[in-house]
């Protein structure tokens, strides 16, 4: 029998990726079309409506939404595996810690996003012009958005008990954080009183930083600093909540 010391973290991590993305992509290739289409469809809409003027912002928005959407998918996938297959129960009653399980699942969502990210990267190469430093900061912004959405996705998933509930959660989250806020276009397109509402969403700050790095908008140094602080704080708070509030063992 295997001893405890021989357990490989890498195997545990890879199992989540195999189950939640590679096997699924291999056996049901049609799911790939959807992952490419959803961030790009909104991009196309914005580009058409603005007669091409907002293509840079829209491509950046596509990246942000891919990262945020990964959290929504994580929530849906975790809930599905937990409620419909009782797979999470099998994993809870095993040496797998919630961290390895969820980290693997989060990575599997990234693997899923690879086709969409590839298409966006090609578009970005032609239409978005950022300095190397700006590109690095943009990647950092994307990482923070991804981390926040993972924490939200995991926490909500542990509370959902069936598919209808889980679906309601994910619709709510994606409307609040991605449909309403100005992710694909500058915030100045939103009339003033409503602008304050947009500032309630962390994705607004992410888009603002991205647009600044792309040279599409100008923001004050104070706003620049505040945006970073808010993004980092939100991610930290969401992680703390996931660590303390998410239910690995049921009450």
């Amino acid at each position: 029998m295997d001893s405890v010391e021989k357990r490989s973290r890498l195997s545990q991590f890879s199992a989540s990726i195999l189950v939640n993305s590679l096997y699924e992509m291999k056996n049901y290739p049609v799911v790939l079309v959807n992952t490419v289409l959803s961030p790009i469809s909104f991009l196309l809409l914005i580009v058409f409506v603005s007669h091409g003027a907002l293509i840079g912002e829209a491509v950046q928005g596509g990246f942000i939404m891919s990262m945020f959407g990964a959290g929504t998918s994580l929530q849906a996938d975790l809930s599905h595996l937990k409620n419909d297959f009782k797979l999470q129960d099998m994993v809870v009653s095993s040496p797998t810690s919630w961290m390895v399980y969820v980290a693997g699942m989060a990575a599997s969502e990234l693997v899923y996003s690879v086709p969409a990210l590839a298409v966006l990267a090609i578009l970005a190469f032609y239409f978005v012009h950022m300095s190397p430093a700006g590109t690095l900061l943009f990647v950092a912004v994307l990482f923070l958005v991804f981390a926040s959405s993972m924490a939200i996705g995991y926490t909500f998933a542990t509370f959902s008990t069936d598919i209808v509930q889980s679906f309601a959660f994910s619709r709510l989250i994606s409307t609040l954080f991605s449909t309403i806020p100005p992710v694909y276009y500058p915030i100045t397109y939103i009339p003033l009183p409503y602008r304050y509402l947009a500032y309630l969403s962390p994705t607004t700050y992410a888009a603002q930083l991205a647009q600044y790095e792309g040279g599409y908008v100008h923001i004050s140094p104070q706003m620049f600093a505040a945006s970073w602080i808010i993004l980092i704080l939100v991610a930290a708070i969401l992680f703390a909540l996931a660590g303390s509030k998410a239910r690995w063992r049921e009450k």
Binding site: L18, V19, T96
Partner: protein, 327 residues
């Protein structure tokens, strides 16, 4: 033996109240050596799954505690999780995976390398007669085959304590017996805690058998211990729908249900009643008491005691015969 630190499974005043519901477990206290096979039986809703989920560290008890050796299910969950594996009652295979992928991914989750996991998965599937289906998508398998895939996953793991919540539900009679053989083969290496509604399964497999009723453990022991809790050695069943006959039972008890009459009595009286029934041309069966009889008898007595009145208990037994469920 590897499992010596498993020690005893002990539960002490274990209680579970789901939010806004009545007690699912009501002060369960018992201890049993964590070796061989322990079978838990009980009616729908008696609390089997609740107990198994608490022991498998999936669910918090409302009060009381449970432990394996020195490992407490609440305090030492991460230690205990190194040693356990479960097939939950409602577990299903993921449709977009194959049996091979399902079993090997489970083993990888437990920390086994890819190659080793594939090898073990292949052996485990073969043991359950699933080699032929190992590379087909799970969604194309029959219900019983899907169940076997999950059982193969936990049996091929390194877990020393295995929880199987109704592992043979949906298996055909041949497969069920094959499963029993497999369980007997691996007995001794690990502790298996299983629930079932098939009482012959409990008889065939259980080194010890526990009986739950309404969240309380009403009996626990070996099959012989349980036999002794029924005073009578023989069981007769007279199916309903035959001509009326008057039977007088002086030593034993007669239980009337929707499906007919069941008589538990001594050997002598059973044979004298048999002679009368043969003379009157009534069909019946006669057997030494089985777990089925014991279960039927103990559950009805438990209800009688709770109801404090015989009439009601007999009414409820009618429900047991397969008509409406009683709360």
């Amino acid at each position: 033996m590897a499992g010596s630190d498993r020690g005893m499974l002990k539960c002490s005043r274990l209680t579970k109240v789901y939010s806004g519901a009545r007690k699912a477990l009501d002060g369960i206290t018992f201890s049993v050596e964590a070796t061989g096979i322990f079978v838990l039986i009980g009616r729908n809703g008696s609390g089997k799954t609740t107990l198994i989920r608490i022991l498998a560290t999936e669910l918090e008890p409302t009060s009381g505690n449970a432990s394996f050796g020195s490992m407490d299910v609440m305090g030492d969950a991460s230690l205990l999780r190194e040693k356990i594996a479960i097939v939950p009652q409602e577990a299903r295979t993921v449709p977009w995976m194959t049996p091979m992928q399902t079993v090997s991914a489970y083993l990888m989750w437990r920390g086994m390398g890819y190659g080793e996991a594939r090898r073990r998965a292949s052996d485990a599937l073969e043991n359950l007669g699933m080699s032929h289906y190992r590379d087909r998508l799970n969604r194309t398998l029959s219900g019983g085959m899907k169940r076997k895939v999950l059982v193969a996953a936990v049996l091929s793991s390194d877990a020393e304590i295995i929880f199987l919540d109704e592992p043979t539900t949906g298996l055909d009679p041949v497969s069920r017996r094959e499963f029993w053989d497999l369980m007997k083969d691996i007995e001794g290496e690990r502790f298996t805690f299983l629930t079932t509604h098939y009482l012959e399964e409990a008889e065939a497999l259980g080194d010890r058998i526990g009986m739950l009723e309404a969240g309380r453990l009403i009996r626990m022991g070996t099959l012989d211990d349980l036999r002794r809790s029924v005073r009578h050695g023989y069981s007769m069943s007279i199916p309903a729908g035959q001509k009326e006959v008057r039977i007088s039972v002086s030593e034993g008890e007669m239980l009337k249900g929707a499906d007919g009459t069941r008589i538990l009595t001594s050997e002598d009286e059973a044979f004298s009643i048999s002679r009368e029934l043969i003379r009157d041309g009534v069909k019946f069966t006669i057997n030494p008491v089985s777990l089925d009889d014991i279960f039927f008898y103990l559950v009805s007595r438990e209800r009688e005691e709770n109801a404090g009145n015989k009439g009601e208990a007999v009414e409820q037994l009618r429900g047991f015969g397969g008509e409406e469920e009683q709360a």
